[in-house]
Symmetry: C2
Subunit: 666 residues, 2 copies
């Protein structure tokens, strides 16, 4: 039997293929990634290839004009109806007749790379759990009266080698009309992660099916709606977590549940409804029906995790912080009452690392991949509860640290959430101690011309997390605050902006008539508590790892993206490192969710990785307390911060006063 040399590009996979074999079959024989939804019927066009012609000296091959069979009737019909790009062939129709080089364009690859929008986006290679399969089903026969489902199963087995698929009842109810509407041709969406049929569409489904990547935070629920074939983000958005009305932070929600019988069920209801509404909103934004959402991946902290699942989080509020379940979960969307998405849609929830380190931290680990780095990397996801991961390819450790809500603007006198009008950047002139600042919504500094006009709409409403961090760090750099965190008097500092308020001083950042934004001594104390907790957590992991410096620091989370590395280090939020190696990862948890949505292999990967992560419990580590106390100073009582000190010198001031002393003894 004659055979020919066939080379697929860009993979370079090659082999000898029998004359007359279709290009699609040749690809399968050689293990080349060539897509097909219709299974070789020439209707889906997913298997398009571009044959080369002429000499390919590097490949040692010359391709004759008739290396593939001529355009056949199926291709002509497809070209007429839908148009086929010049030079393209349908892989299932074109047959090998000679040595040939075939280019597989990206859109014909299942495992294509997702197109990146920004350079900082981490690459994702598609390998979705959800795939579409087109089949022709045998019509019913009274003499062999098997059910429509059984004949569909036969077709999936014969035509795709798919066996033992589950069809949930809500789809069973649709099977008969869909089969008849499609004249016994049907496209079946299969979740290959659970061998479940998640969608039924008459004839060939041409529109994409969609998946939702959800970062379910205590404060915000953010989601990306993605095309499950290309990975493209079709819509993104977020809503406030409505559980906020039951408690600002996680522990107050746990308390709510403990104090109010049925309180957990109320919170479960609230978060499920919000998630469902967000799905509807994003689908509307993308102009698709919400029921085309066949899959969701959710990451969240353990308390959100339990409340979403309908599990009372009470055990998470007390030692030993036992999770009801820690492994990854594969559920029907209906089990968590997501009713707007596809009736048989599936949900994947990443594993939790520990009672305080959730699936969101697992998603950060997936996204930031410290396990694939040589550099010892510290990853800090700043929030009410900070998740901290330290490691490299040899070893990974994780803990959480109760930073409290100060970094989110709570417990700060003029604090507010990051919203237009909030001060987000602060600079203080070290000579004059005069401040300038920027507010969210404008790129101008407060001393730039036009600032008043630019901010007239939003006003200047308060100070958000990144603003307070910069303000305190700048105050320390300008000698307004000493290493112990005390604000000096007007005389000590030499500026009337230091104002006596009660027994302590406050620094006036801005005023307009009666409206004033100050940084008070109380604000400094709140920030010190928060940053000490964060630093102590990081140090605890470093102790466990037996190191006293890290190569790289990654600030994760939406908030992390807005923190200035330099200011964070002056404040002593994070351990000393080369400033150029302190970077922001944006919403790494959300990105990790998207990765697990687009690539099911990554689910197995993170499940294995989580088992490898060494969990460190801050609540019971005696050294945590020591680290916490030492980290109270700005930047630190004992740690030298050599990289930081190579770049700047902090004023050696001290403002100890009797009044502050009394206050601290109370």
């Amino acid at each position: 039997m004659t055979d020919h040399q066939v080379i697929f590009m860009p993979s370079g996979k090659r082999g000898r293929i029998a004359e007359g074999t279709s290009v699609l079959d040749a690809a399968r024989q050689l293990g080349v990634d060539l897509d097909s939804v219709c299974g070789g019927r020439g209707i889906c066009s997913k298997c398009q290839v571009q044959p080369g012609v002429g000499a390919f000296p590097k490949l040692g091959l010359t391709v004759a004009a008739d290396a593939l069979s001529p355009f056949n009737a199926v291709e002509h019909r497809y070209d007429e109806k839908r148009g086929l790009k010049a030079g393209r062939r349908l892989g299932c129709q074109a047959r090998v007749q000679g040595d040939v080089v075939l280019d597989v364009p990206p859109e014909s690859q299942v495992h294509r790379q997702v197109v990146r929008k920004a350079a900082s986006d981490r690459p994702i290679v598609m390998d979705p759990a959800t795939r579409l399969h087109f089949v022709t089903v045998e019509e019913p026969d009274m003499h062999a009266p098997s059910g429509d489902l059984e004949r569909l199963r036969e077709a999936l087995s014969d035509q795709w080698g798919l066996d033992d698929l589950t069809l949930p009842l809500p789809l069973l109810a649709r099977l008969q009309p869909v089969l008849r509407q499609g004249k016994w041709q049907i496209t079946v969406a299969v979740d290959h992660d659970s061998d479940t049929i998640t969608g039924l569409f008459p004839a060939l489904r041409e529109a994409p099916v969609l998946g939702l990547a959800v970062d379910l935070g205590s404060t915000t629920i953010a989601a990306h709606l993605c095309d499950l074939s290309t990975g493209e983000v079709r819509a993104s958005g977020g809503v406030m977590n409505p559980q906020i009305r039951f408690g600002e932070d996680l522990m107050s929600r746990v308390s709510y549940s403990m104090m109010n019988p049925g309180g957990d069920a109320e919170m479960t209801r609230a978060v499920r409804d919000a998630l469902d509404a967000l799905a509807v909103e994003l689908a509307a934004e993308a102009g698709v029906p919400a029921e085309d959402i066949l899959e969701a991946v959710i990451v969240c902290n353990p308390v959100m995790h339990h409340l979403l699942l309908g599990v009372d989080p009470v055990e998470l509020g007390q030692s030993p912080f036992a999770l009801a379940t820690s492994d990854a979960l594969r559920l029907n969307a209906s089990e968590i009452e997501l009713t707007s998405v596809g009736a048989a849609a599936r949900v994947y929830i990443l594993p939790c690392i520990a009672g305080h380190v959730g699936a969101d931290a697992a998603a950060v680990a997936l996204s930031e991949a410290p396990d694939q780095a040589d550099d010892l990397t510290l990853i800090v996801d700043v929030g009410t509860n900070a998740e901290i991961i330290l490691g490299n390819r040899d070893r990974i450790l994780a803990c959480s640290s109760p930073t409290g809500p100060a970094f989110e603007g709570a417990q700060i006198s003029a604090g507010q959430r990051a919203a237009p009008g909030a001060i987000e950047r602060v600079q203080i002139d070290p000579a004059t101690r005069e401040p300038r600042f920027r507010v969210i919504g404008s790129d101008l500094w407060s001393n730039d011309p036009g600032f008043a006009a630019a901010t007239a709409q939003t006003g200047i409403t308060g100070i958000c997390g990144s603003g307070i961090i910069e303000a305190v760090a700048e105050m320390r750099m300008a000698g307004i605050v000493d290493a112990r965190g005390l604000i000096g008097s007007p005389e000590q500092v030499g500026t009337p902006r230091c104002e006596l308020t009660g027994r302590t001083h406050a620094y006036l950042l801005w005023q307009d008539g009666d409206r004033r934004i100050q940084v008070t001594q109380g604000d400094i104390r709140a920030i010190q508590l928060a940053k000490s907790a964060l630093y102590a957590g990081a140090r605890l992991l470093m102790d466990e790892a037996g190191v006293d410096h890290v190569d790289r620091v990654t600030l994760a989370g939406a908030f992390g993206a807005h923190i200035s590395p330099r200011h964070a280090m002056v404040l002593g939020m994070i351990p000393d490192a080369e400033l150029s190696k302190v970077t922001s990862a944006g919403n790494a948890a959300g990105h990790g969710a998207r990765m697990a949505l687009c690539n099911r292999g990554l689910r197995a990967h993170i499940e294995t990785l989580v088992r490898r992560i060494e969990k460190v419990e801050t609540a019971i580590a005696p050294r945590f307390q020591e680290h916490f106390v030492a980290a109270n100073a700005i930047p630190h009582a004992t740690d030298p911060f050599p990289h930081l000190m190579a770049e700047l010198t902090l004023p050696d001031v001290s403002f100890n006063t009797a009044s502050e002393g009394r206050r601290r003894r109370r």
Copy 2:
């Protein structure tokens, strides 16, 4: 190492067992069926055995008094707290020290036979899908923070070899409190048919868990509530199928669905609610919480099947009568909205045989087991739609036949459902043509002394299915009706009870003042149509099987139990057979459901058997129509009925009249 001869009775299994082995372990080594819930901790007492002492010449063994280790502390404690029958030992505590004969009492066997209440009950050997497993779970540890579920899974794997069990979300929500209530000891109910955890109970569960065997009929929903360990029926009962308000028979319900958008959903709602209410009612009767019901097995006809599943039955109303699904189904009870039973209860629905031959017919085949008989057996389940099965161990065929509701008393002038006051038995004196009868609720005949007093409460309200069958058959035997089904005139028959009503005659069965119960010509015609359909179906199967007589006829269904074989044969409802071999099987479908509930091996068996059954579609068989026409005569126009004729002679009368002739031509 010393070993000893150990013989278990009644199985007779024997082998040499190492000195010091516990009796429970010895039983496992020899494959002896010895129960245990607690896994050998000496607390469940399920593994009790009775050791013999002295000489057992037939077994060739003498048992010394110290053949087992002495009563230990665990046994003493159990005996004090709960009492151990004299001579009994806990198999997990007693250790082998010498040759021994051990009797395993029935209550210590998992695969025990269910105690029969009546001689006609078919035996069931227990092998339930649901089993209880007691485990001790490791307490949570902050340093190895796996979830409670993951530690439960470990315990089930280590202590019972059970892996990859699913825990549904509603039970996950209960896991943490149950584990803490039981102080890390927990009894887990596992459905081994789906590897699902279906119940969680603190510490050792002593009360039984329960299962529901449901026969979901078009008219009545009947169920048995069974102990899943002993098979004992704890409560039985039935309710009307509330779908009756949407249509009396199956096809009128299909029509309702076709004519009323959303009508199928209404009927689904109604039947699910009724089933749920029945579960609550039976649980109350048995004095147990409904949530102790962890399993249900349901049998029903295809239309009920689809409506229960939430599938529009419209395809079942038109050729080719395609089922949405034919295979057996394993579901969560919550999927069909059974909310009163255990939150993670499971449902098993038997496979359907064909579009008109449902899971109820499969249950009849399971119960009556024609596949295990040498005799060629015809099984007839009489209802609005009759299911007919013919076969023996070589071959089995099945069909359904649209008999209509006449046998249930509908379409009969004085017809009613079988209820107190309904005439159920009829005798007519062949000499005087005077009738006597019995009504449901009394054992007296209408001419017995005391009949009036005995029936004063119920009254005489109408005639039920078995009553009309006997009435028509007796009329034929007494020469009141001829072979063509015509009622003679008073003159022809010689009794004034034959009354002219319009153009035809009616036979007066009873009157009291104005109230009269007659058998009209229309009644005879309705019964003829019904019995012809039944007979034609049976004959069609006989044709397919290539036989012209059957060895045995079984009348199944609640109604079948009340039919007199002799009268059924005079009427020509069933083919001729030896009268002694025409028997009733009672509610065979319900019994089949109970078998599949108590023994999971029988599920696999019926699933295989159903695939072997040859389906015959009456609606498209040309010979069905021929058989139907020939079967119109009483008993039959051409078939000779030799066994029947050997026992009696039917009067050779003929009442053809012009009026009847005209009527038939209309």
